[in-house]
């Protein structure tokens, strides 16, 4: 086919190509819709009148989309105030921020040593870390719970900070060591030749060069702790004063009954922050997933 002809027929070929690919687009749109619709339903339900939530599907809100009486924020007022979700939101933050920062701090020192220092048992110790990645946390609950009870830590924030630090460390050390180890070798060797100490090469080379990696890890650990239910159930129990959002929402689910219509608003409050962080920093999250995908 000559240049001229292909140019003349180009638009037609595009239409054909589009039609040929139409099934592909339809399948993708269908998959995306299936994935999106369940969440959409809860978001819509969270701002509907309680009576309506109980009696009709969220999609019927489309019938009166622009009517003021379709929508309300009273569910949010009710869960934040009467259900104590405002307190739980605060608790989730109080739990999550230290439980994200402490393991990253401890892990970066260890990961640096595993990546760039020479010491006996280095490989053996790191193999143990890799093994610990997949140990079911259930293996630790009874002894740690008892130890906490003995020293009066059960139901306190330090209890859960320490537990999440211990549980998060294998992945944190593993991931950071992969990232640190991927930094150029020459860099460290020439720094050491120039007389740099370990401390200097850690603080002035490894850490600054790894800010995106530290961000990946921070997002992982943040989401993991924020979304955790099991560890909070075990070490914080049902104490409402310290309960994070996940525990509060789970209790609301299991109580059902009269407050059933508050579930969507409660769920949205628990999901909002992680969703924003996730969407804003997705790039770093993907980096973390790709670098650490032996983690369960």
């Amino acid at each position: 086919m000559s240049e001229e002809r292909s140019a003349r027929y180009a638009p037609k070929i595009d239409v054909q190509k589009f039609l040929a690919r139409l099934p592909l687009h339809l399948v993708i749109v269908l998959i995306v819709v299936i994935w999106l619709v369940p969440s959409l339903g809860v978001f819509v339900n969270s701002v509907r009148i309680p009576r309506e939530i109980r009696s009709s599907g969220w999609w019927t809100a489309a019938d009166n989309l622009f009517a003021a009486e379709t929508w309300t924020l009273e569910n949010y007022e009710a869960v934040l105030d009467a259900q104590g979700m405002a307190r739980s939101f605060l608790n989730s933050l109080i739990i999550t921020i230290p439980a994200t920062l402490i393991p990253i701090l401890i892990a970066s020192f260890a990961a640096f040593a595993f990546a760039w220092m020479e010491f006996p048992l280095r490989l053996a110790l790191f193999s143990i870390v890799v093994g610990l990645l997949v140990v079911p946390l259930q293996m630790t609950f009874v002894p740690v719970f008892r130890a906490y009870a003995n020293v009066g830590l059960t139901g306190t924030f330090p209890a859960i900070w320490l537990a999440h630090t211990g549980y998060g460390l294998p992945f944190a050390v593993y991931l950071l060591r992969n990232f640190f180890g991927a930094l150029p070798k020459d860099l460290f060797e020439s720094a050491f030749l120039d007389g740099a100490s370990y401390q200097q090469s850690f603080f002035y080379l490894a850490l600054p060069l790894s800010v995106p990696s530290l961000a990946s890890l921070a997002i992982f650990q943040f989401l993991w702790v924020w979304n955790d239910l099991l560890v909070a159930l075990i070490y914080l129990g049902g104490t409402p004063r310290v309960a994070p959002l996940t525990v509060r929402v789970a209790n609301l689910v299991n109580s059902l009954g009269a407050d059933w219509h508050l579930l969507p608003a409660a769920a949205v409050i628990s999901m909002l922050l992680p969703m924003i962080i996730f969407l804003a920093l997705q790039k770093y999250f993907v980096r973390g997933i790709l670098a650490g995908s032996v983690k369960g």
């Binding site: 599907g57 010491f119 099991l230």
Partner: protein, 286 residues
Amino acid sequence: MKKSGMRPWFYILPALLFLTFFLVYPSIRTFHLSLLDRRSTAFVGIDNYRFAFTSRAMLIAFRNNLIWLVLFTLFTVGGGLVIAVLMDKVKYEPFAKSIIFLPQAISFVGAGVIWRFVYDHRPGVGLLNAVLTFVFPDMQPIGWLVNSDTATYAVIVTGIWVWTGFSMTILSAAIKGISDEIEEAARMDGANAWQMFWLITVPLISSTIAVVATTMVINVLKVFDLVYVMTAGRYDTNVIANQMYVELFITRHNGRASAIAVVLLLAIVPIMLLNIRRFQEQEALR
């Protein structure tokens, strides 16, 4: 690397202490507790393991974890692969993938609430029954989560919804790592899309598929939150991790709880050894 004396130990000491106190020592202790009675005062031999392997609750849990293992792993890995391949070919790929990936950001508790509204037995409220009774007007609405025949599958579907984005992301990155020349050469040889998928894509990313599948198997063995929030283990949906929680906090039997934890660990040990070996092989190449 330079010679370093004691210095490295200061760097790894805090981590080692935490790992010892929160993972290594408790795990060893749990082995011991699994041989003791309810209050860990008397030795009872293998009684707790007899419970773990023969009680009705645990047999249902084993059956369900097995169903999870097959369906969840198949659909998260297979579905993630198919979605990654399909979306690889369109311009709006980043947006479409974000939507599939998004459930990874929310808790299982949140996902459980979301899907309870899909599964509600009232067709006026539950989306699934609304769609089904619309398409099949004669059909009776189904109580998906309150029926022993359907509840486990309903919970598994929610798990698949949460985790498919994870597989898709890793597999998609692997697919983009396949060189264009190989794909071009295959296309020149007249391979169609189906052949491309089975003869080029799948074999070339098989090691990544294995890694993702391993991750999903670990997820299956640990599954707890979804069951706790969606059915609390009722309607024959019990899983091993949920029964461990029940023994720990409801029946308060530390021996049984410990034995169930050991069973979970033993199921995971092969994967653990596999991971360690894979790491040491990579390390030898470094």
